[in-house]
Each structure stands twice: as structure tokens, then as C-alpha cells.
């Protein structure tokens, strides 16, 4: 019999019972809750007179709706509906006895930055959250994926989820990454190859020497965008980097439990003879810094390329999608990526708002200044703790000296549910994960890039190849 993949192992370890029709009940170790997708779930519990199954399994924070300018209480949030959601989460978590890192708590931040940072996500866990980028947490060798609000309620009430086993896909990136090529470029390159539906129905394990060479933060960036490749869950096997990351975090096991945990965690790798349903091999040397040009994350090209010609696309559905994207983006096939002018820059989101992302952006910003043509550069740390660390390293000063704005933690301009947003027609170099129409504001035009590339675009006023920045 063939060995097991990492995903097989995680699935088997959480199987509570299988039903005749092939669906199963899997146990959920950790649920992360935020203000947007939870109110209706709590309302459902209340209506049915149900209690959470295990309150300790959940941790909550506010992120999507919070302003990124300082505020001290929900009452100070100007937008009424945002204020109600933030307040509702506070009320619900208090009523049901769930831990919340709320307003003014240094641990508050984007769900997928806060949870691993606290050690609330540990290797071998099943992790869910009413947010599709829950896949981020798979970097810690967990089975982590987004769920809908009814499922949030189901997990609260039963600590389980009705699920069907996904198929296994292995994406192996072998070799060394070139200079200026980051985790973000790797994952954009992968999506460019397999497409936004390429991973549908699969759990993707990211493997290979280039992935192993990444920090845990870099692996989170990759797993974060598994969903943009269509896969609900992305994951990376346990190695020393994983263990070192977890050690000493507030929710991590201590003492004897720690040793026992580490022994178990080390088994969380795919067996050498495991069989995958699909395998994608990528040569790290082929990956160049990436820039998305269209309205789907698969519409991505290397920074030194020209925008692609829809006429060369044989799939009719894809071709018309490209044409529509060109119209929306106000761009033309054949122009060099570096000719695209940038109006605003956003450095943040659960994809790229951890300390190493801010360091990478600061390195570019240091001693340089934002181009006059760029209206605004937002730098938004992923959590209060990331912000604190960045300030300790003086990164905030570097950004401010460069004319960038240093903000409070939250989702910010990733999705324009809060005051940070694009105006219609504006082009934004963004380190977030989605470039859909209107994502960053009605009519806004998003270009997905790495933190260093975003900072470089802020300085130049248009996209530049980060590898040539010094000559520029």
C-alpha cells in the first residue's frame, strides 16, 4: 500500500465518523472568528438555544472593518455598519465566553496574522475561519481552510464540520530563488501556471527545496494564496523551521507536553512513497518578480515582460475574460509592465503584512522617497505585535521619511470595507491577494506584487524590476 500524504495524515487524525455516502464528520481543533462572517452564526446559536461546544477552541479578533487610524472604542468608528459589527463581535464573544483580542489589545490584528503569532495555530491542527484565506495557516502543517457562516455556526455548536475528503496535489518548487524573487512571486508564478481553478477540489502541499528554504512567514504567503489557485487548503510539511517558529508562543505547549508535541509533529510530512493525484513541478530558476495586470490572479506576468495578447489565447472563455480585464484595467496588450503608472500603493494584508514583509519594503524605502505622482502609500502591519516589532527596529521611521503612511493593524485596503480604498480608475501596487474588479474600491485597479516591488513602485511612480532598482 502506498504511503500517506501530509493531508491524508491530517484528515485521518481528525476523522470522527464517516457516513455511508462518503461524507465525514471531522473534528475542528481551532476556530478563528472575526466580525464580518460571525454575527449570523451567533444569532443562529441564540435562536436555537445552543451553546458553543468548547469555548476554548475559538479565538476572535477584529480586522476587516477596523479603521487603520488610531481609535479607542467602537463608538469612534464613523461608519455605522462597521461600528455595529465590531460591537456585535464584542457582545457575542462576551456572551458566549470566547477570547477576543479586541480594540486596543496589542494582539489584535488580521485573523491569519494574529493566530499563528499567538501559537493559536499549531502543527497537526484542523483550523477553520469564516474567511477563505484561512489556508495561510497551513504553513504550519495544519489542515486549514475557509468556511461559510453556517459552518461557523456548525463548528461553534458541535466542534466538527461535515466535510468530504479532497484530492492531493503536490506543487514542488526545486532549486534556488533568484535575487529579488520572494515567496509572493513564487505563488503568483504558480497561479499563473495552474490557473485560478487549477487547484479546485485539491489540498495542495507546497514542497521542494525552494519552499523548504523559505521562512515560516514566506510559507504563509504561499499557503495564503492557495485559494487563489482554487484550492481551499495549502500546506507545508513540518521541519525545523516550523518547530522553531512555534516554540515559546503564548498558546504553544510547554514542558513535557512540548517534547511530546515535537515528537508527534515531526511525523507530519508526506511519506516518501505517498501518491498524489496531481503533481506540478516548477524550477525555481524560472521565477522572476511578478506583477498581475488583470482582474484575476492568474492574469500575471513577470515584471520584465510585455502585457499578453488575448488573440494568442485559444480558449474562448479565457480570451473574452482577458478582453474584459483590459477594458476594466484601462491597459493595452503589448505594453511593457514597467510602463504601468501607479497612483497608490498598499503594503499589508494577510498575504504580506508580517515583519519580514515590512523589512523587505523598508529596505527599498530606505533613503528614497515616494514619487510625487503617487498619491498615497499605505503601510499597514498585520497585527499590533508586528507593529510593535517594526517600531522597535525603526522601520516606521524609514517609511515616514520616505513619505509613506504608517498605520494601525487591520485588513485595510485589501478589501475596502473600511475607510482605506481606491478611487475609480486608480492603479494600485498592492501586496494583497485579490485583484478582482472593485476589490480595493469601486473601479479601482489592483496589481498584485511583493512588498519590495510595491515599495519600488512607490518610489519610481511605475512598476520597476526590483533587480535593477539600484541602476534605476
Amino acid at each position: 500500500m502506498a504511503g500517506k500524504t501530509l493531508y491524508d495524515k491530517l484528515w485521518d487524525a481528525h476523522l470522527v465518523t464517516e457516513r455511508e455516502d462518503g461524507s465525514a464528520l471531522i473534528y475542528i481543533d481551532r476556530q478563528i472568528i472575526h466580525e464580518v462572517t460571525s454575527p449570523q452564526a451567533f444569532e443562529g446559536l441564540r435562536l436555537a438555544g445552543r451553546k458553543p461546544w468548547r469555548t476554548g477552541a475559538s479565538v476572535a479578533t477584529i480586522d476587516h472593518n477596523v479603521p487603520t487610524t488610531p481609535f479607542k472604542s467602537a463608538a469612534e468608528i464613523v461608519d455605522q455598519t462597521s461600528r455595529i459589527q465590531v460591537q456585535t463581535l464584542q457582545d457575542n464573544t462576551r456572551e458566549f465566553g470566547i477570547t477576543e483580542f479586541g480594540i486596543g489589545d496589542v494582539r489584535q490584528g488580521i485573523v491569519h496574522v494574529m493566530a499563528p503569532e499567538q501559537g493559536a495555530v499549531l502543527p497537526g491542527m484542523t483550523v477553520v475561519c469564516g474567511d477563505s484565506h484561512t489556508s495561510t495557516n497551513g504553513a504550519l502543517a495544519c489542515l486549514a481552510h475557509g468556511i461559510g457562516t453556517s459552518e461557523v455556526e456548525h463548528v461553534l455548536a458541535t466542534q466538527t464540520l461535515v466535510a468530504k475528503k479532497m484530492q492531493n496535489m503536490r506543487v514542488a518548487v526545486e532549486g534556488d530563488l533568484g535575487p529579488g524573487v520572494t515567496a509572493k512571486d513564487v505563488v503568483l508564478h504558480i497561479i499563473g501556471i495552474i490557473g485560478t481553478a487549477g487547484g479546485t477540489g485539491y489540498a495542495i502541499e507546497f514542497a521542494g527545496s525552494a519552499i523548504r528554504g523559505l521562512s515560516l512567514e514566506g510559507r504563509m504567503t504561499i499557503c495564503n494564496m492557495a485559494i487563489e489557485a482554487g484550492a481551499r487548503a495549502g500546506m507545508v510539511a513540518v521541519d525545523q523551521t516550523t518547530i522553531d517558529y512555534v516554540e515559546g508562543r503564548p498558546f504553544a505547549p510547554k514542558g513535557e507536553d512540548w517534547d511530546k508535541a515535537v515528537d508527534y509533529w515531526r511525523t507530519l510530512v508526506s511519506d516518501a512513497d505517498a501518491e498524489f493525484d496531481a503533481q506540478v513541478n516548477i524550477d525555481a530558476a524560472d521565477i522572476r518578480p511578478q506583477v498581475s495586470w488583470g482582474t484575476s490572479p492568474e492574469m500575471v506576468v513577470p515584471v520584465d515582460a510585455m502585457l499578453p495578447d488575448p488573440q494568442a489565447e485559444s480558449d474562448e472563455v479565457k480570451r473574452s475574460g482577458m478582453q474584459r480585464a483590459y477594458e476594466y484595467m484601462g491597459l493595452k496588450p503589448g505594453i511593457p509592465v514597467t510602463d504601468i503608472q501607479v497612483d497608490r500603493v498598499f503594503i499589508g494584508s494577510c498575504t504580506n503584512s508580517r515583519i519580514e514583509d515590512l523589512r523587505a519594503a523598508a529596505e527599498v524605502a530606505k533613503g528614497r522617497r515616494k514619487a510625487d505622482s503617487v498619491k498615497q502609500v499605505l503601510v499597514v502591519p498585520g497585527s499590533g505585535l508586528v507593529k510593535q516589532q517594526a517600531e522597535k527596529e525603526g522601520l516606521d521611521k524609514v517609511f515616514i521619511a520616505a513619505g509613506f503612511e504608517w498605520r494601525e493593524p487591520g485588513c485595510s485596503m485589501c478589501l475596502a470595507m473600511n475607510p482605506d480604498r481606491l478611487e475609480a480608475g486608480e492603479h494600485c501596487a498592492s501586496t494583497s491577494n485579490r485583484n478582482f474588479e472593485g476589490r480595493q474600491g469601486n473601479g479601482g485597479r489592483t496589481h498584485l506584487v511583493s512588498p519590495a516591488m510595491a515599495a519600488a513602485a512607490a518610489v519610481a511612480g511605475h512598476f520597476v524590476d526590483i533587480r535593477e532598482l539600484d541602476q534605476a
Binding site: 462572517t37 461608519d79 475557509g146 481553478a197 478582482f436 474588479e437
Partner: protein, 212 residues
């Protein structure tokens, strides 16, 4: 949850692939803390010429007359016909809520994004996967005949056009059972509370830190 057994209705064609949940219900409407009332803002950016915001009276807004759901011939549609990878993007359950609040009972496409597909069933909305060819044929039929209605028979797992052969579709048994009987999944799962507790006891032996 309402039962879904057989549904006969008017079909509206949305001829786009990769329709994402931001498009189905734009983010400014996610701030509600209720499950209902999203219908007027379904496909908001396509349906109206101005920018929508929550709490507005949408009946007074300028409509994009070209958009399919605004065309007189598709008024009262309860079945949405669309292209591949429908519902991709964010996991918001507001997407099926908005589709249902608008009046859709079923969606037919060559493929759906996973989370969206799942969310539909939790709310009694039926997503039906048909082959690209069958979807294409339905598109042609809908364009060719104003007021085209079809019947969806969940029991038999068939899409039955007014004329022509019934088209069979696949559906997971458990989901079918829940839809046919309008069953609440949480109640069903809680019937197995003892099994869940026994599982927890086993896990706590092996990984006590999970339960601290």
C-alpha cells in the same frame, strides 16, 4: 431550512465565467448582521449605474438596462444559468443569501468554486453541475426562446428542459437527503454527540495540548 424537491422556473442566463463572490454581493453589503435583505444588491455593480451602499432604497437607483437581470424577459427568474468556476473568491455566505433573497432556487454551471458550492447547500440553494456542452446548449435554448422554463427534479437528479432530453446531474447523497427533507445539519450532527465526545477523549490522550 426549506425543502427542495422539484422546482420549475424561468431561467436567466449570466454569460460570464469566473463570477466571483465580490461580484455576486459587493463587500459594502457584508456589514449587515442578518441573513436576509441582500437581494436588492445581488450583482450590485452590474445591475446599477451608481455605486450602492447599505441601507439605500435600491428601487430608486439608475439601472443598467443591458444587464440580464434587468431585462423584462427575465423578470421572476428562479434558475440562474452561468459559466465555469461560478462563486470563486471570498468565502462569504452572503453570496448564496443574496441569490436566494433575490429569488433564485438553483444555479446551473459547468463548475463551481468549492466554498461557494458548499455554502449553497447549507441554505437550500441547489448548485447543479452540467457538462460544458449541456450548459452551452441551455444557453442557446434560453436565448432562442423568450420565457424558457425548466424543471429541476432533485429526486431523479434531472434537469428537464421544456423540450429535449432530461439532463442527469450528480449530487452527494447526504446533501440530497438534507435538501429533500429540509434538514438542519447542526441538529443532525448533535445526534452524534457521544461519538464526538469519544473522539475527544482519544485525542486528549495523544495530544493533550489541544484541549488546554
Amino acid at each position: 431550512m426549506e425543502k427542495f424537491i422539484r422546482q420549475e422556473g424561468l431561467v436567466a442566463p449570466l454569460d460570464r465565467a469566473n463570477v466571483d463572490t465580490d461580484q455576486i454581493i459587493p463587500k459594502q453589503f457584508l456589514k449587515s448582521i442578518k441573513r436576509t435583505g441582500f437581494g436588492p444588491n445581488l450583482f450590485d455593480e452590474w445591475r446599477y449605474l451608481d455605486e450602492g451602499f447599505p441601507g439605500q432604497d435600491s428601487s430608486q437607483r439608475p439601472k443598467n438596462e443591458g444587464f440580464v437581470l434587468n431585462q423584462p424577459r427575465y423578470q421572476g427568474a428562479s434558475i440562474l444559468l452561468t459559466r465555469r468556476n461560478f462563486g470563486c473568491g471570498s468565502s462569504r455566505e452572503h453570496a448564496p443569501w443574496a441569490l436566494m433573497d433575490f429569488g433564485f432556487k438553483a444555479i446551473i454551471a459547468p463548475s463551481f468554486a468549492d466554498i461557494f458550492y458548499n455554502n449553497c447547500f447549507k441554505n437550500g440553494l441547489l448548485p447543479i453541475v452540467l457538462s460544458e456542452d449541456n450548459v452551452e446548449a441551455l444557453f442557446r435554448a434560453v436565448e432562442g426562446k423568450e420565457g424558457l422554463r425548466i424543471t429541476i427534479d432533485l429526486e431523479q437528479q434531472q434537469v428537464i428542459p421544456e423540450s429535449g432530453e432530461p439532463l442527469a446531474f450528480e449530487i452527494d447523497e447526504f446533501r440530497k437527503h438534507c435538501l429533500l427533507n429540509g434538514l438542519d445539519e447542526i441538529g443532525l450532527t448533535l445526534n452524534e454527540a457521544d461519538t464526538i465526545r469519544a473522539y475527544e477523549a482519544r485525542r486528549a490522550e495523544r495530544e493533550p495540548w489541544i484541549f488546554q
